[in-house]
């Protein structure tokens, strides 16, 4: 049996009277790519924020990388990377300055940061962009860079909240190659997305609707179960509000 690096039991998150996460239960195993699907407002972002220690659960038992999300959020933060839908590198810093900053925050040695910066720029064909401001980069490049920065410190888990929003298909493809590469290095990838073709790339997917997880399995099994040709069909069948 594979080891669970994320374990969620009876997770509830309420904002006043509104229940954003309603009794979530799931596990994510080491090294897998776990897709988190759902319509807008289904509660994906709320869940991902709780898992990464940005938001405290109302109740339930959430363990990430061996630490309790309610009691030890700062311990969790040492072991994860995070990239959110709202682009969040510093736009008024250059590519290299951003990498240096986050490398430094995660406690990497200066020489190591330099080494990884070179490697990263090389790999992304970014060499000439090293001293450019983030604000001068096209969105696709920024997203790729943000992902690279999120895994710079080789975390156990990386959380990606709609990482490919608004990006062209070619860049999305490249982005997913990067995700596969990270997973190949043993980094667990937890990713939310709107794109159903991307869901096909995941090892397992869960589908959320109105704060609940309504389906969770491998894409192949889900398609079989719902007699559908694609994940998109599955999604339309079960995630449409009012269908469950």
């Amino acid at each position: 049996m594979k080891e669970a690096v994320i374990s969620v039991k009876n997770l509830v998150k309420k904002f006043g009277n509104f229940t954003a996460n309603d009794d979530l239960n799931f596990e994510v195993y080491e090294g897998e790519i776990f897709g988190f699907l759902g319509a807008n407002g289904a509660g994906k972002t709320t869940a991902i924020r709780i898992l990464s220690g940005l938001s405290a659960p109302t109740s339930g038992d959430v363990t990430v990388a061996g630490y309790n999300a309610k009691k030890q959020p700062e311990q969790i933060k040492k072991n994860i990377g995070y990239m959110c839908q709202k682009f969040s590198l510093y736009e008024d810093l250059t590519v290299k300055e951003n990498i240096m900053l986050y490398g430094g925050i995660y406690g990497l040695k200066k020489a190591l940061i330099r080494e990884r910066t070179d490697l990263l720029l090389e790999k992304l064909n970014f060499r000439e962009y090293g001293d450019r401001l983030i604000s001068d980069l096209p969105l696709g490049l920024r997203q790729k860079l943000a992902f690279s920065v999120a895994v710079l410190h080789e975390p156990k888990i990386v959380f990606l909240d709609e990482p490919t929003g608004g990006v062209d298909p070619i860049t999305r493809r490249q982005f997913w190659e990067m995700i596969y590469e990270a997973a190949g290095r043993g980094i667990t990838v937890f990713v939310t997305t709107h794109y159903m073709d991307e869901a096909e790339y995941c090892d397992r997917i869960s589908i959320m609707s109105e704060g609940k997880i309504v389906a969770l399995d491998t894409p192949a099994d889900l398609k079989k179960q719902y007699h559908a040709a694609s994940v998109e069909e599955v999604f339309v069948k079960i995630a449409r509000p009012g269908n469950n």
């Binding site: 924020r49 220690g53 959110c84 810093l93 925050i105």
Partner: protein
């Protein structure tokens, strides 16, 4: 610990990459010093006087001459109609009306007391009070003269009287620039630190970059300190710029130790930055922060004692000033610069300010949430 270094470096790069802020940091102190120091003054010159001389004797002429002879007064009108004089006062054409009654010369010649009447436009209470005081001074001199005249020629022995000779310590010439400048230095440091630091943090909230910081293991203390250090340094550089301008443009005296002045301002800045960051944790937009900051800055400055002495404020205001960092820095700046106070002389102020700085900074660290 090393993370602080990376964070501070990032702040500095961002501050100086912003072309406007980079210039404003040095432009603001220069402009502020050159404008505020000479402009904010209580000195009164050329008080416009309207004279109603019903006596028209040599004695009354002499009093008017003496008034005119002083640099404070200028007789702009002369009339016999009280109504016209009041009209002039109403319309703001003159500041003071002086009525010399009939028989003024005769009575004073006989050594009898005489009443003259003064009406002042007190819309500006400070102005009215000061010109009133100046007028009193001139009349006192006049009194002394006639007393001397009355006694010298007569048989009466000279009247012994107490004469006051005044000497204004620490600012002998009562130069208001000397009085205002140390205070303006405090305002300068206050405004720059408060606004820049607070806006900086709120901007990170608005752009969402703070999320990316919050999801890292960075310690709250480190983050807040890294937000303070650059503005502490900038504030002290501005203080130095202000002092240099004070010396070059106004030749301000500097009696005390520069090190103590900087020590006081450094602690003051920590208090100000702590409060600014504390407030910015409540604000989600730059507007919200600016509105709140404006409130605090105005209250701090007006209650700091820069314009009005602390001692003349009501008791509750004096109590408030116990937690007003600007009130301490006003005293420290003035005492060190004009009086040459040593550390021992102002240790109470320094320690109180230190306590405030610690409390405000602790509040900012406590209120900053990495996990909502």
């Amino acid at each position: 610990m090393r993370t602080i270094f990376y964070l501070i470096r990032k702040e500095f790069i961002q501050i100086f990459r912003d072309k406007f802020i980079g210039k404003a940091i040095f432009g603001v102190p220069i402009v502020q010093m050159l404008i505020l120091v000479p402009a904010v003054t209580f000195e009164i010159k050329n008080v416009r006087l309207c004279i109603i001389d019903r006596d028209m004797t040599t004695e009354s002429r002499e009093l008017v001459n003496q008034l005119e002879g002083s640099t404070f007064f200028k007789v702009t009108f002369s009339t016999f109609s009280e109504q016209e004089a009041n009209n002039l006062l109403h319309k703001g054409k003159c500041d003071l009306v002086l009525q010399i009654p009939m028989g003024f010369g005769k009575e004073t010649g006989n050594g009898n007391p005489v009443r003259i009447m003064v009406s002042a436009n007190a819309i500006n209470a400070v102005n009215a009070q000061l010109s009133w005081a100046y007028l009193n001074g001139v009349i006192r001199d006049y009194n002394r003269n006639i007393m001397a005249e009355n006694t010298s020629g007569g048989t009466l022995p000279p009247v012994p009287q107490v004469q006051v000779t005044s000497r204004y310590w620490y600012n002998e010439l009562l130069n208001y620039k000397y009085y205002m400048l140390p205070g303006v230095l405090g305002i300068l440091v206050l405004a720059i630190g408060f606004i820049l630091a607070g806006l900086n943090l709120v901007k990170e909230k608005e752009s969402g970059t703070i999320e990316q910081i919050n999801v890292t293991p960075v310690k709250k203390v480190h983050f807040i300190i890294a937000k303070m250090v650059p503005f502490l340094i900038i504030g002290l550089i501005d203080l130095a710029v202000g002092l240099i301008i004070g010396k070059l443009a106004f030749n301000i005296p500097f009696e005390g130790s520069i090190a103590i002045l900087f020590l006081g301002s450094a602690i003051f800045l920590v208090a100000v930055l702590g409060l600014a960051l504390f407030i910015s944790t409540f604000s989600s937009t730059q507007q919200q922060f600016m509105f709140t900051a404006f409130f605090f800055i105005i209250v701090f400055i007006l209650m700091s004692g820069i314009f009005t002495p602390l001692e003349s404020m009501p008791a509750w205001a004096q109590k408030f000033d116990l937690i007003n960092p600007a009130a301490y820095v006003m005293r420290i700046n003035r005492m060190v610069m004009l009086k040459g106070s040593t550390f021992q002389d102002i240790s109470t102020e320094i320690y109180s300010l230190m306590l405030i700085a610690i409390v405000f900074t602790a509040l900012a660290i406590w209120r900053y949430r990495k996990t909502a």
